[in-house]
């Protein structure tokens, strides 16, 4: 049970909401919410008002309102905390090609949040996270960039609303392996043959174009030697028209690793309450003898008068891919 608190446009807390249905999604695709009231009992929310449950990541800022004469409802829509961060694009500092984030994840996060100008509302937890990160970022929405940076370090972003600010911290991603067909309903989709040969196309034109290729070896690691051939060989292409060879192969390696993540788990369960975007989930269908592991890419929370239900999109992390598209924007 959560209290969904709302503020006025000056961010003064007004009370706990009642008689609503809130749907909030955050992750790699959508970072928005809709909060539906009966029009007769809708609170006086306007643009800039906040909704949140204290000590959770469930909250955001009202960005719009719609009313329906058909069902007599008023819907306030907005950006989750994740969406607010993602409304800012991380740009290279003046005179540099990339915003380079190196070192402890908390320090990197502070740099990113400061670059967004959000440090009055989003504050990084004090001290170090103990997790080292490295990312070169160029014109990427900030939340997507942060999630991708942390995914490379097998870490995740934690957001908790603390009275007057959102506290950000980084912790190691968790592999949740307790989900099975005795305690949850889910659908496992397992991929048997993800791409194992990637063609890399970098800067330059025609014969001057920088190219390379990488492979997946017998043990699943990235190698320069082809292992899979014939009908077992599955090729993919990765293009970064700005990249020199070293950078191209670095990004190509990341891309090829990411492409191995082809498993998907479709689940709506009480168990996913504790799952965060960036975690990994191993689900086992005991009856069918099938098991799969995939990353949590998106989470949806529905609050109806404080009572939560959760669902997750698990599989095919795409945030990392966004970091690597490398288009010159």
């Amino acid at each position: 049970m959560y209290d969904l608190i709302y503020t006025d446009a000056e961010l003064v807390e007004q009370g706990v909401l009642d008689g609503y249905a809130l749907t909030m999604t955050f992750g790699d695709v959508d970072n928005t919410f809709d909060c539906v009231f009966g029009s007769a009992s809708a609170p006086p929310l306007t643009g800039g008002c906040m909704l949140y449950a204290e000590d959770t990541e469930y909250g955001g800022i009202v960005r719009g309102k719609s009313t329906s004469t058909q069902d007599g409802t008023t819907t306030f829509s907005g950006s989750t905390w994740h969406g607010v961060i993602n409304e800012h694009v991380l740009c290279p500092p003046s005179g540099q090609t990339h915003l380079k984030l190196r070192g402890d994840a908390h320090a990197a996060l502070r740099t990113a949040i400061a670059a967004c100008g959000l440090d009055s509302v989003f504050r990084v937890a004090s001290g170090d996270s103990g997790i080292q990160v490295s990312a070169d970022i160029r014109f990427i929405p900030a939340y997507d960039a942060i999630v991708a940076m942390l995914a490379k370090a097998r870490a995740k972003l934690i957001i908790k609303w603390k009275r007057d600010h959102a506290e950000l911290s980084v912790v190691a991603a968790v592999n949740h392996d307790s989900m099975n067909s005795d305690n949850a309903n889910f659908t496992i989709t397992e991929g048997y043959r993800p791409p194992n040969h990637i063609l890399l196309l970098g800067t330059g034109e025609m014969l001057d174009r920088i190219t390379s290729e990488l492979f997946i070896g017998e043990d699943g690691s990235v190698t320069r030697t082809k292992y899979y051939t014939g009908i077992d060989e599955v090729m993919a292409k990765f293009e970064d028209t700005n990249a020199q060879l070293e950078e191209l192969e670095e990004k190509g390696t990341e891309k090829l690793i990411e492409m191995q993540d082809v498993n998907e788990i479709d689940v709506s369960s009480e168990l996913v309450n504790d799952y965060d975007v960036g975690d990994y989930v191993t689900a086992t269908n005991l009856d069918a003898g099938q098991s799969a592991t995939a990353a949590v890419t998106s989470k949806t929370v529905t609050l109806i008068d404080g009572e939560p239900t959760f669902s997750c999109e698990i599989g095919s992390a795409s945030a990392l891919f966004e970091l690597n598209t490398g288009k010159d924007v």
């Binding site: 009370g15 000590d55 369960s269 009480e270």
Partner: protein
């Protein structure tokens, strides 16, 4: 046994006794809690809105009186629906908030306007029955009062001028909501019930009140001596449920110590929720 409807139009309709209105409260003595199953294990219980049909009979000496009584009943129900503000059905000491959106004059069962049958459909948006029990705490009452450094327990106000200790008992075997009314004059008043600290950092003036209501979390109301109300929700101390500083923390089952600095009086109203109103003889 008493059974009545309290409308927000100021009217109270008594059903039974000497009243011209009769209805049987047993019509409400049923509940059906929804649930979610995962592989034959209950994942959760979901309390959803409930509706019950309530037959009502009106007895009148004249048809003119019958028409007036029928009109009075209809207005009591209709007012609350139009105002979008739930009325209260009360069974003995228990109450539940409800609307009566359907009101059917059963012509076939009526004897002119001398004996009128009405079928009302009652909607309970949150179908719980609440029993409130109030206990007042005054600095001058009995109980343990400790002063200064001699205080034997490790409460965080050891070095203040003094502390008063009382008890309150939640007789249910589950937690219940609480309403706290603090009477001024009080400066940044706080109260411990069990392990939870209820605190709002405001000055309650002499003759004023501060009300923290776990059944209505939409605001925390500070009233001055003239009755002017201000919402001071943003002045509560922070904390989610179970944190030890949650201002609406339900009261645990059983005996709970109530401690405060003894500088102001207050009431604690336990709001015990049941799925139905218990039968009485």
């Amino acid at each position: 046994m008493s059974f009545r409807y309290v409308s927000n139009n100021g009217d109270t309709i008594e059903f039974g006794g000497d009243s011209a209105f009769y209805a049987d409260s047993d019509a409400f003595r049923t509940y059906d809690t929804d649930y979610t199953l995962v592989h034959n294990a209950v994942a959760r219980f979901n309390r959803k809105a409930a509706s019950h049909e309530l037959p009502i009979t009106i007895f009148a000496d004249t048809e003119t009186q019958g028409a007036a009584l029928l009109d009075r009943l209809q207005q009591a129900f209709d007012h609350d629906v139009r105002a979008h503000k739930a009325g209260r059905f009360e069974i003995d000491e228990y109450y539940a908030h409800a609307y009566v959106p359907t009101f059917k004059f059963a012509c076939g069962d009526s004897h002119g306007l001398y004996e009128i049958e009405v079928k009302a459909k009652v909607l309970f948006p949150n179908p719980v029955w609440i029993l409130e029990s109030r206990k007042s705490f005054n600095p001058s009452d009995g109980g343990d009062t400790s002063r200064g450094l001699n205080y034997p327990y490790n409460f965080p106000f050891n070095f203040k001028a003094g502390v008063s200790i009382r008890q309150i008992t939640n007789p249910l075997s589950w937690p219940c909501a609480v309403r706290i009314v603090i009477y001024g004059e009080a400066h940044n008043p706080y109260i411990y019930i069990g392990d939870n600290r209820y605190e709002v950092d405001v000055d309650v003036p002499d003759g004023g009140t501060l009300t923290i209501d776990g059944l209505d979390k939409s605001q925390i109301v500070l009233r001055d001596q003239y009755g002017n109300a201000t919402n001071v929700f943003d002045r509560r101390i922070s904390g989610a449920q179970g944190s030890g500083t949650y201002v609406f923390e339900p009261i645990p089952s059983g005996v709970n110590a109530v401690t405060w600095d003894g500088s102001f009086p207050f009431d604690v109203v336990l709001c015990g929720e049941r799925s139905w109103a218990p039968c009485t003889t």
